[in-house]
Symmetry: C2
DNA sequence: GTTGGTTTCAAACGAATGTTTGAATCCTGA
DNA sequence: TCAGGATTCAAACATTCGTTTGAAACCAAC
């Protein structure tokens, strides 16, 4: 390829980290795939950890900027009024699912991101928290405003469940093939499927544990 | 401890594999934690891979037997009639969430299982498919019977999403803490929360994509 | 008490890991 | 053209990995 060594290493690392995980991916695998010398990683990035961090930051910063931009657009359109839950879900998860459909590295990265969530190394969790701080705050506020009758703790759990569904939606059909033959080639279909599921879950009737919590007992339906 | 070396190794491996993943967990970490000699793993299990397989089989077989038993009970009670989706969800995910609440190893194992789903090594995927074959077949049949109006492909995706939500529900608050302070100490509450969410997602309105054929669509979409 | 099989132990094995080194090579600006 | 920083390269660095070995320790049966 014509691209420089640094970019080739980032691309190769992204792909191999997605496929084999953070620990099982060796620098020799990466530099071989990138057609670079073994020492190039330490020359360009300093260490393996710094390379991994660069791989994540390269796309994650952009992803969360897109999320915030989408939220900004909806809020400008609404002009002070609470957004519809569907819009907030679209801004957060829709952007992610669309990036996961991008065959030019976006898909690889999103799969890597999904699997990293459940195998957090300390140093990864550290800069992941950094990268997510702002977007989390913005979306929490938007959701709380849009769903005032859903207890905040309940919503946080549902958000967490939604992240899980997203992660599996993106993770590729690896685990899916346990269920049998299935077609995962249509990103538009996946987008529509996930959206329906997420909104169904988000707006499900509240569980019974909130009855004793002295809230409004008749607010059985979310929003 | 009173337990024998073999059991101590299994317990230590389960705990450390959950915390650090399959590759980052070394035999020296395991044998130190188990207060056993390094060679004990190869003596009792033959290899690191065989140990990992033993860790999974020890509890996964039992878990899936419980799932099938729960399904059997519901089906016997229904006597040929289709089950309620809520009952099938309860039999599959409820059993899992209840095992994840068991502080005596069950929680550790379920977290390990959840994270392994998104980091499948070849040999793990192999016996995971074995262990799941029967239970998947049973539950697919039950769901198809209970939800005849949901296209099978759509349901498989929803089942996949539900697995993702379960995985995150179980995975502990590691990723959750990104969202802010939250209480994950009440297993009953978690059970109720997840059930509401799953059933809400499972019964959500179908997405718009089901007009086209299952394979390559000749006409891409209706207008 | 001695035997024979089971289990534990310290030590070492070769292979693979991330990193470092210092010389070669490339490339740009004067 | 040539000097000098940027980049590449082969080789070696010290560790750590999973596994193997052979002797020591344990333990029930006779």
């Amino acid at each position: 390829m014509e691209t420089d060594t640094r970019s080739r290493i980032l691309d190769a690392a992204e792909k191999l980290l997605m496929r084999h995980g953070l620990d099982a991916t060796t620098l020799r695998m990466i530099t071989t795939e990138a057609q670079a010398n073994l020492a190039a990683v330490n020359y360009h990035f300093g260490s393996k950890e710094a390379l991994i961090e660069a791989v994540f930051r390269r796309r994650l910063t952009w992803l969360n900027e897109q999320r915030i931009a989408a939220l900004d657009a909806f809020e400008a359109e609404a002009g002070g009024a609470p957004l519809k839950p569907r819009q907030i879900v679209e801004a957060f998860f829709g952007v992610a699912i669309r990036m996961a459909a991008d065959q030019n590295g976006g898909q690889t990265f999103m799969r890597l991101l999904g699997r990293t969530y459940t195998e957090p190394t300390d140093f990864v969790r550290k800069f992941l928290a950094e990268e997510y701080a702002e977007v989390i705050a913005r979306f929490k506020a938007a959701f709380f405003k849009a769903l005032p009758d859903v207890p905040q703790e309940e919503f946080l759990w549902r958000f967490h469940f939604m992240m899980g569904a997203l992660s599996y939606a993106i993770s590729g059909a690896d685990a899916l093939r346990l269920l049998g033959p299935i077609d995962d080639s249509d990103p538009d279909a996946l987008y529509a499927r996930l959206m329906s599921f997420l909104i169904g879950g988000l707006r499900a009737p509240l569980p019974e544990i909130h009855a004793k919590s002295a809230k409004k007992p008749r607010a059985r339906r979310a929003a």
